[in-house]
């Protein structure tokens, strides 16, 4: 079959669109994998976790965040748009006075930061927050 010039152009445009879409698909998959390795595939309810992060982070290299979830045994933090979605996992011991912690994280670009808490009864809860990043924090 002979391809006309127009058909060639369509093919090219299709390829470009596919290439453009691919990265977000890969990242979403990575996020799902990271999440299910923490939850073991269990259902995750919305709310019940407090995640505080700045709305706009000028420097993606150090973005202060804090998480808190009363009654949680563990809280995992994920960054959907990072090359590796896992950020940190906090496990609270017997002498933890509150199920809360603060730290500083790296964000590659503007994205959702997700906190997932594992409650004492084995259920999971999540909260997401969008952080706008001016300068990405993953280096060339």
């Amino acid at each position: 079959m002979e391809l006309t010039r127009r058909q060639w152009m369509m093919l090219g445009a299709g390829a470009v669109a596919a290439a453009g879409l691919a990265p977000t698909g890969v990242l979403a998959k990575r996020m799902d994998e990271a999440l299910s390795s923490f939850t073991g595939g269990a259902a995750v309810a919305d709310g019940g976790v407090e995640l505080s992060a700045p709305e706009i982070a000028e420097n993606g290299n150090t973005v202060p965040i804090s998480v808190s979830a009363p009654g949680a045994v563990a809280i995992a933090v994920f960054a959907e748009g990072n090359p590796e979605a896992e950020v940190a996992t906090f496990k609270f011991g017997e002498l933890a006075a509150s199920q809360a912690a603060s730290t500083r994280i790296r964000l590659a670009k503007t994205q959702n930061v997700v906190a997932v808490a594992q409650m004492a009864d084995g259920s999971f809860a999540r909260t997401a927050r969008v952080v706008k990043v001016t300068i990405g924090g993953c280096g060339g």
């Binding site: 940190a88 906090f90 011991g93 002498l95 509150s98 603060s102």
Partner: protein
């Protein structure tokens, strides 16, 4: 062992029994993510602290798993309950196998 690693922690010296205290920790460490490249375009290998724990008299307070997305000089702030006089032990585990440890004792006022 990464160079210039220096742990710093802030813990009150005396508390009332059963009090809740806020603990702040910082350790100077480059936390090389394994994503960056040098001038020749070679990937700089990952070298981070992958675990941090805090215990009071052998009872766990906090156990954190760190991934490369934690910033240079990892900082943590959290709260602990102090039932008695004793010692808080902070431990950081490096990718290269080094373990950095700091202890602080707390007296009951």
């Amino acid at each position: 062992m990464a160079k210039g690693v220096k742990p710093r922690v802030k813990v009150p010296k005396t508390v009332a029994a059963g009090d809740v205290i806020t603990i702040k920790t910082l350790i100077s460490h480059p936390m090389e993510s394994g994503q960056r490249k040098d001038k020749e375009g070679n990937v700089i290998p990952r070298s981070i602290i992958n675990r941090f724990t805090c215990d009071f008299n052998g009872t766990n307070v906090l156990d954190v798993k760190l991934d490369p997305a934690v910033s240079t000089n990892p900082y943590f702030q959290f709260e602990a309950r102090v039932p008695e006089a004793g010692e808080v032990r902070f431990t950081w585990y490096d990718d290269d196998g080094s373990v950095y440890e700091t202890r602080k004792s707390i007296a009951i006022a």
